[in-house]
């Protein structure tokens, strides 16, 4: 059962709100305090990525986040509606290749480095990023 569902328009200003909501629900779900920074950053990265791809492909479409408390885990799924060809495989670090605009590959790399468990489901109609962390208690 989804504990909280949140949809927001593809505006950078809303990403902070999404981070705050996710962190608050994670704390309530019993995620350890030491992991809350990781939840905040990983959810922020997923939402930033979604906002950027929506602004490029479908600025009028909302982004959806589902925050679940299932079987002792806190699970977050961030879903966008943009074609997922922007997700690139991890490449060796090359300063000349890096852009100071959004680095979508970096965002995914950061999420994978932070979340206890991550799955990325790219598709022609959008990408779902599902991540989860251990949670101590139920709802």
């Amino acid at each position: 059962m989804a504990t909280v569902e949140l949809t927001f328009s593809a505006l950078p200003a809303h990403v902070r709100t999404a981070r705050l909501v996710a962190t608050a629900i994670a704390r309530r779900t019993g995620v350890e305090e030491s992991l809350l920074d990781e939840v905040r950053l990983a959810v922020g990265e997923a939402c930033s990525r979604a906002v950027e791809v929506h602004r490029a492909h479908c600025p009028g479409e909302p982004i959806r986040i589902e925050l679940r408390d299932d079987s002792g885990r806190f699970e977050v799924t961030v879903s966008d509606h943009a074609p997922s060809d922007e997700i690139k495989p991890e490449q060796p670090l090359d300063l000349g290749m890096l852009s100071d605009s959004f680095m979508s590959g970096f965002g995914i790399a950061v999420i994978e480095g932070l979340a206890d468990d991550v799955e990325v489901f790219p598709g022609p109609k959008g990408t779902n990023i599902r991540m989860s962390w251990p949670a101590a208690n139920g709802t």
Binding site: V15, R16, E52, L93, L98, D100, F102, M103, F106, A109
Partner: protein
């Protein structure tokens, strides 16, 4: 909290004080400041991150962009950061190898002075 930016020049080093959250919403302001400083001939930048509460990959991108700009002028962009939560994102992305990261502004100034 929002992002607060300030800067000052000491000798040939421009120290950029950053406070608050650097994310997809606020990072453009930091990008504009770094571009403005470089355009005005400040090619040795030290970004003090000690009061940064949050940094994401958008913020990293702005710092990398700043580094590219100053390097085009044989300059430098280095960081002051001791917060584990911020250092972690530099480690995950391998950027600890790209930026000089110091424990204090004084330590960075001393290292910068030795290089000159």
């Amino acid at each position: 909290m929002d992002l607060k930016l300030d800067h000052r020049t000491e000798d040939r080093l421009t120290i950029v004080e950053v406070e608050g959250e650097i994310d997809v919403y606020t990072a453009p302001r930091l990008r504009e400041l770094l571009i403005d400083l470089v355009n005005k001939g400040n090619f040795h930048l030290l970004v003090n991150m000690e009061k940064v509460d949050f940094l994401d990959s958008t913020g990293l991108g702005v710092l990398v962009g700043g580094l590219k700009r100053v390097r085009a002028h044989d300059g430098s962009l280095e960081l002051v950061c001791t917060q584990e939560r911020i250092l972690k994102i530099f480690r995950i992305t391998g950027l600890t190898k790209v930026f000089g990261i110091y424990a204090s502004v004084d330590e960075a100034k001393e290292a910068h002075g030795k290089d000159k």
